[in-house]
């Protein structure tokens, strides 16, 4: 192999070459995207932080926090991440598409459950008048929880696309690389949820 195909850069490179090298570039780029997205979430968190007192006499943290529902949502979302990990592992060690698809289906169902319960919570908030138009606090709450929910929804759409691609192409290198990136995204959303769960809901009623 000529010098050109080896990686002689210091630092980040893992020493792959050829097609795998491009997979590495893709994954690295995706990490950067996630870091940028983390800044986005961080900012919405910060805005929320400054607005926790701005209830303007409307519903506050006590009214909007339903710990049972939050616990269930957390379990479902973490469960979904867990399912996704198994999908990644089975892709890596078994390279067998139905097994991977099975785990993906579990991850997707669990995330769908999360969204349904979140949606029911939203309905309840509307019922008690905790709408975003009511106060700065509620605007920030809806924006933060909604942004996360939107990410989960987009993730489900992505998972659906990947599922169709696995059915159509099988576990090709390209599809595998996509599953890898989707995995990063999915676990990232868990981390953000842990932030929301502890800083918005637990801290709100503590």
């Amino acid at each position: 192999m000529s010098q050109v195909e080896q990686n002689v850069h210091p630092g980040m490179n893992l020493g792959y070459s050829g097609d795998t090298k491009h997979a590495e570039v893709n994954v690295f780029g995706f990490w950067l995207f996630l870091m940028s997205d983390l800044v986005t979430f961080g900012i919405v968190f910060a805005v929320f932080g400054t607005m926790t007192g701005a209830t303007a006499g409307g519903p506050g943290p006590e009214e909007v926090t339903n710990l049972h529902s939050i616990a269930l949502q957390t379990a479902l979302l973490l469960g979904s991440s867990f399912g996704f990990s198994w999908a990644s592992l089975s892709m890596k060690y078994h390279d067998e598409r139905w097994r991977t698809l099975g785990w993906l289906a579990i991850a997707a169902t669990s995330a769908l459950g999360f969204l349904v319960i979140e949606f029911i919570d939203f309905l309840h908030w509307i019922e008690i008048g905790a709408v975003p138009q009511r106060s700065g606090y509620l605007s920030a709450l809806w924006a933060l929880v909604g942004l996360h929910g939107l990410h989960v929804t987009a993730g489900l759409l992505w998972m659906g696309t990947i599922t169709a691609q696995i059915l159509r192409f099988g576990l090709t290198d390209k599809v595998k690389s996509r599953v890898t990136r989707m995995g990063l995204y999915w676990h990232f959303l868990d981390v953000v949820w842990v932030g929301i769960f502890s800083m918005v809901f637990l801290a709100g009623v503590a």
Binding site: P10, G11, E24, V47, P132, S139
Partner: protein
């Protein structure tokens, strides 16, 4: 429901002058007619030339970083024409603004809002994106960006923002709160009209594009460098591009979030920044400037990079203090995130907080000073040729230093309290933007134009133009320091102190000189195109360049390098030349795989422009449709098989051998004849003795 939402015939500014004639409406309608005519003329001209197919195949669907870079530059210059026209209109107004003025206060407010927005987002940003796109892959010995299609999409999203600004000139109105668009001034309660909505969508959509660009640049520089190119071997411009890429990745999200929160306030009656129900405008100020301050370094760092390449190329010396330059660049990038509050010292922070941010701001002067010394010491005892880039450099060194000093003055909270929101601030930021960003861009155009198009720009026309820029800048903006200290407020349509009048007259004369300078750019281009045979430098290295982009023909082939070079030192090409072995034939050629053209950018451009327009005018059906198109198209596309354009090895060999043969037949031209027609782009290296 009306399919046109809240859009009515009366929103077309074209009619305004007929309803109600005045100089004010004449300017507004005239600009709208001008834009429409220019657009129709462009379409007609392309049709007349029968160039639509060519335009589509060669440009609109290309993913070649070089062409994308050129398109960014063209977009920047088109928007620059509008931005300058607005600047001149504002200056003309202010010359008559003692107790009145020719324009209405509303129109003046619209002018400084579009002017600022356009200059920053759709002139300055495209300029630096253009340079980074064009140069970085060439400088690091790569075939393209890490994500070529994403690169095209970023361009498309920026173009969407520019298009929305242009549409607002003809349909409806723009906001009146300046380029910062502070709510609650731009809130629905205060301004329900379309203006703030145009701003929100132009900024949010192009903001996504810039974030993607930042990611793309960073990954490209981290991962796509030619083998052997260590970080400390990278050209200085690439270093500044890396810092800019990182800044774009992290500084754009606050802006996008702020814009979208403003949209939520306006459309869905949220209370982020409203006056009532717990809204907090200071959150907006913080978010905006958390983006806004790093933004000025996003713009200036690449210009610093250009000046760094410039001094070593046109001083014929290795850059002095490379390491300190790199450290200074990195320090500025980091510090730029820690000073945003200096934009609102007067908005109710405690004295302690103000002092902390004042000191942090002052600290930036240290690395900036390091840079200025590095440039000067590089030029010191260099073999300087007084070409156009050096004229810009001279103007830059002196004027930018003045601008920097006025920044230090503003960094002091107690002084800032005195001059805040006066013309002093306007003087300061034009003083850094014109000599810094703009002169850097124009110098860069003179340096790399021959690389991109194969012929040099005319020196004489270029020098006259450069002098016009320098003189015009001094006349237009230096008086503003004085009137600022005398208390003339910024963004004010009229004034009542006759003492300002003489200054305003000097300013307007300067503004017309700047207009001439802008025309001078096109004159230079025209003269150079006419003489392009005499100015041709197809062999690729007209200035005795030091970095890899000069080691290719001009213009470079789509694949940049026949084989990826191996790098063993800084200034890779200069090293090869000093060892007497540049232009060697590679031992073997291989097929080259390039990404195929795609219509992705075009689809995204059309859909997001439709989206922005639909949201502005409440055409909900169209907004939904365009979102569905974007998502659906992306999902469908991901099912396409991986395609590539393969350039066969024989073709690469043919092109490369022909070029090397031409060089071997040619005669190296030394620096004394650099600007003569003997310069065909084959430089006889005559670098001064370099201590290793």
């Amino acid at each position: 429901m009306n399919i046109f939402g809240r859009l009515h015939w009366d929103d077309l500014k074209l009619w305004e002058v007929f309803h109600d004639f005045s100089i004010d409406s004449l300017v507004a309608s005239g600009a709208a007619w001008g834009a429409v005519f220019a657009f129709v003329a462009l379409i007609g001209w392309i049709t007349y030339l029968g160039r639509w197919g060519w335009l589509y195949r060669e440009w609109l669907t290309t993913v070649d970083h070089k062409k994308i870079g050129i398109m960014y530059m063209i977009m920047g210059f088109v928007m620059f024409a509008r931005g300058i026209a607005e600047g001149v209109a504002m200056r003309s107004h202010q010359a008559t603004a003692l107790d009145g003025g020719v324009l209405s206060a509303y129109h003046y407010a619209e002018l400084f809002s579009t002017h600022g927005t356009i200059m920053i987002f759709f002139v300055a940003m495209p300029f630096i994106n253009g340079f980074i796109n064009y140069l970085v892959p060439l400088q690091i010995g790569s075939r393209d960006m890490a994500f070529p299609m994403l690169n095209q999409i970023s361009l498309a999203l920026t173009a969407t923002g520019a298009a929305l600004c242009m549409i607002s000139l003809v349909v409806g109105a723009f906001e009146t709160g300046g380029w910062t668009a502070y709510p609650p001034f731009t809130s629905a309660a205060f301004d329900p009209g379309p203006g703030p909505d145009y701003w929100v969508w132009a900024i949010a959509i192009s903001g996504f594009g810039s974030t993607f660009s930042g990611i793309n640049y960073s990954v490209t520089i981290y991962k796509m460098r030619a083998p052997g190119m260590k970080f400390m071997f990278m050209p200085v411009f690439t270093w500044t591009a890396l810092c800019t890429g990182i800044l774009m990745t992290f500084a754009l999200p606050p802006l996008t979030v702020a814009a979208i929160m403003q949209a939520l306030d306006r459309y869905l009656d949220f209370h982020f920044f409203t006056n009532d129900l717990g809204g907090n405008m200071m959150n907006y100020a913080n978010l905006f400037w958390m983006f806004g301050h790093p933004e000025v370094y996003i713009l200036i760092l690449p210009a610093y990079g250009i000046f760094s390449e410039l001094v070593s190329t046109f001083g014929a010396k290795r850059i002095y203090g490379y390491t300190s330059l790199v450290i200074a660049t990195m320090s500025i990038a980091v510090l730029s995130f820690m000073v945003w509050l200096h934009h609102f010292f007067t908005m109710g922070n405690s004295a302690t907080v103000n002092v902390a941010f004042g000191i942090a701001t002052g600290l930036i002067a240290i690395p900036t000073g390091v840079k200025v010394y590095v440039w000067m010491t590089t030029l010191w005892r260099g073999r300087i040729r007084f070409t156009v880039p050096i004229v810009y450099m001279a103007g830059f060194l002196i004027l930018f230093t003045i601008g920097g000093f006025s920044g230090i003055i503003l960094a002091n909270p107690s002084i800032n309290w005195q001059v805040h929101n006066t013309q002093f601030v306007v003087a300061h930021f034009h003083n850094v933007l014109l000599p810094g960003l703009l002169f850097g861009t124009l110098a860069g155009v003179h340096i790399w134009f021959p690389k991109a198009f194969g012929f040099r720009l005319d020196e004489r026309a270029g020098k006259i133009t450069a002098m016009l820029w320098i003189v015009g800048f001094c006349l237009t903006f230096l008086p503003l320091y004085v009137v600022g200290l005398m208390g003339y407020p910024r963004r004010s349509a009229a004034f009542d102190d006759p003492a300002f009048v003489p200054y305003m007259i000097v300013c307007v004369i300067g503004a017309f000189i700047l207009l001439t300078a802008f025309a001078g750019l096109f004159a230079t281009l025209y003269i150079s195109i006419r003489n392009r045979d005499r100015l041709a430098v197809p062999l690729g290295d007209p200035w005795d360049g030091r970095t890899l982009e000069w080691a290719t023909p001009s213009p470079p082939p789509p694949w940049n390098f026949p084989v990826i070079p191996e790098v063993v030192s800084r200034d890779a090409f200069a090293k090869e030349k000093s060892e007497g072995r540049p232009y060697v034939l590679p031992p073997e050629y291989r097929d080259i795989h390039l990404p195929p053209p795609t219509a992705a950018g075009l689809v995204i451009f059309l859909a997001t422009t439709a989206f922005g327009f639909a949201m502005t005018w409440y055409m909900w059906w169209l907004a939904i449709l365009s979102v569905v198109v974007v998502i659906g198209w992306l999902v469908m596309r991901s099912f396409r098989e991986h395609e590539e354009v393969v350039i066969p090895a024989v073709e690469v060999r043919r092109v490369n051998n022909a070029w090397i043969e031409a060089i071997q037949l040619g005669k190296g031209v030394n620096r004394d004849h650099e600007t003569s027609s003997a310069n065909r782009g084959y430089a006889a290296s005559d670098y001064l003795k370099e201590g290793a």
